[in-house]
């Protein structure tokens, strides 16, 4: 763990010594809560329709699949027609596209970004590396099954899938969201201990709080 995150004694500016434990004091320790659909069916149906038609992707290209996301912003494929926008901050996005292989180092950052996104949020696994490890199935520092670490809604197969395959995958995700099945965030909250145990099993230099929101 980094030296500044350890529990230690510091001397304040007014000369008083006090003990500080950064991971406990500077972050909140509450685990995630399940946030059910709180409204009547009609309103929730309207919200699900709006969530499907306004997918904001977090602009975090986690692997080599990000190269297939860039053409979607260009005039040839133009994902903006489908209501898809890219947002640079996890606070404002509701779709996380895990594009390609996920090394353990990136997984730690992905977890941190995913937990900062507001509920409801969706995850799309791009490429075969998220399904079964793909080309890097026997690598020492990539994960083989994305489902063990994050709740995934749609997998898009291919190595790499063409941009048209991505658009078809987004259409499938929209169908899932409109049907009310896009509850990955609540699934993460329900099985939080299981996901956290899986994550901590592969990430050995864990120096963040358990739930980074």
């Amino acid at each position: 763990m980094k030296q500044e995150l350890e529990k230690r004694w510091v001397k304040g500016p007014d000369g008083v010594d006090f003990e500080v434990e950064p991971l406990r004091d500077y972050y909140c320790e509450a685990p995630p809560t399940v946030m059910p659909a709180a409204y009547s069916k009609i309103i929730e149906g309207l919200f699900n329709w709006a969530r499907a038609e306004s997918l904001w992707i977090l602009g975090f290209g986690t692997g080599c699949g990000a190269i297939e996301m860039r053409p979607l912003m260009t005039p040839r494929f133009d994902a903006y027609r489908y209501g898809i926008q890219w947002r640079p901050t996890p606070r404002q996005s509701n779709l996380f596209v895990i594009s390609g292989y996920l090394s353990v180092k990136t997984l730690k950052r992905v977890i941190r970004s995913y937990e900062q996104m507001p509920n409801p949020k969706y995850v799309v696994g791009l490429g075969s590396c998220t399904i079964n490890g793909g080309m890097y199935f026997d690598s020492y520092n990539t994960i083989t099954r994305l489902d063990e670490y994050l709740p995934v809604d749609v997998y898009i197969t291919g190595c790499m899938p063409r941009p048209e395959a991505l658009l078809a995958g987004f259409e499938e995700l929209k169908r899932i969201i409109r049907a009310g099945k896009g509850e990955g965030a609540n699934q993460y909250a329900e099985r939080f201990d299981w996901y956290k145990a899986n994550q901590k099993r592969v990430i050995h230099d864990w120096d963040m709080p358990d739930y980074n929101w």
Binding site: M35, Y80, R81, P88, P118, N119
Partner: protein
């Protein structure tokens, strides 16, 4: 002094019309910019969908009272700017709450939103917000200066501080517009207009590739929904001020829609053709080109 209570529903009706026009117009302008780039862009009703989605997010994280008040101040700035200037000249129904000195109040409300946003973004504690706030406030200050000078020049020219009387003095033909009777003030104000519309070349404050989104970095769900509502209302309200001061006002809703569309198109024309300035470049640009025009306008008035 009597106050007619019927003004309140009429003002709310104006706000409703302007808000819807703002949502559709910003989407149409995004489509125009997309067509310049040979693609089709977002559907025109996308702003409504984004608003419903943001409002329907189930979790939201607050950083304190000022963080909560940031979007509230911003929306207050936008709505206040609209409420105190006459929208349709000559109509009792749509002249809002305009009164004798509303020009100065309009200048105040133009800046009020940015200040509230800056305080709220500062409370969020994100370093990118702080950088965005410092850039944003310095650029808005430099862009406000020629606008204030032009407004004073026009007030001196017409000897009044009431927007209604300025619009009344411009009726009677196109050549009576301030555009033709005081062109230097209008030039200074239009250069300042480019700066405050937050489009290229002056969009470094909100540029997602520069620093992630700048001041609204930590804002999400309902807070972001409030700010997006303001992003629809505030440009229209500012263009209403410009239209009333410099381009003759509007005597009916179709003329209003057309003039607002054309004035907004000026900033889009410039925006699609030019790359982005850095903050010090944009401040230097305003001080070299726009402020001397404003000073000349005041001197010769």
């Amino acid at each position: 002094m009597s106050f007619e209570w019927i003004k309140i529903p009429y003002a709310l009706l104006t706000l409703f019309i302007v808000a819807n026009y703002g949502f559709l117009l910003t989407a149409v302008m995004a489509k125009i910019a997309a067509r310049v780039g040979r693609r089709h862009g977002i559907p025109v009703w996308q702003n409504y969908l984004d608003l419903i989605k943001n409002y329907g997010l189930r979790s939201s994280i607050t950083h304190g009272v000022m963080f909560y008040l940031g979007p509230v101040f911003r929306l207050t700035g936008g709505v206040g700017l609209l409420m105190f200037v006459p929208t349709i000249y000559g109509s009792v129904m749509f002249s809002n709450m305009s009164f004798a000195g509303d020009l100065i109040l309009a200048l105040y409300f133009v800046f009020f939103g940015s200040l509230g946003m800056a305080l709220g973004a500062g409370e969020s504690g994100h370093p990118y917000s702080a950088i965005g706030v410092s850039r944003g406030l310095s650029q808005v200050t430099a862009a406000e200066l020629p606008f204030a000078l032009a407004v004073y020049a026009v007030a001196v020219q017409y000897q009044t501080l009431s927007v209604t009387e300025i619009v009344a003095a411009q009726q009677g033909g196109i050549l009576h517009w301030t555009l033709f009777t005081n062109p230097i003030a209008v030039a200074a104000a239009m250069l300042s207009f480019l700066g405050s519309m937050m489009r290229p070349p002056f969009d470094v404050v909100l540029a997602p590739q520069e620093i992630p989104i700048g001041p609204p970095t930590e804002y999400h769900s309902s807070y972001l929904a409030l700010m997006q509502t303001n992003r629809a209302i505030f440009p229209i309200a500012k263009i209403v001020i410009y239209m009333n001061l410099f381009f003759g006002g509007a005597a009916s809703w179709p003329v209003f829609f057309l003039k607002v569309f054309l004035i907004y198109l000026v900033s889009v024309f410039v925006g699609v053709a030019f790359p982005r300035f850095r903050v010090e470049q944009s401040i230097r640009w305003f001080l070299i080109w726009a402020v001397p025009l404003g000073v000349i306008a005041i001197v010769i008035a």
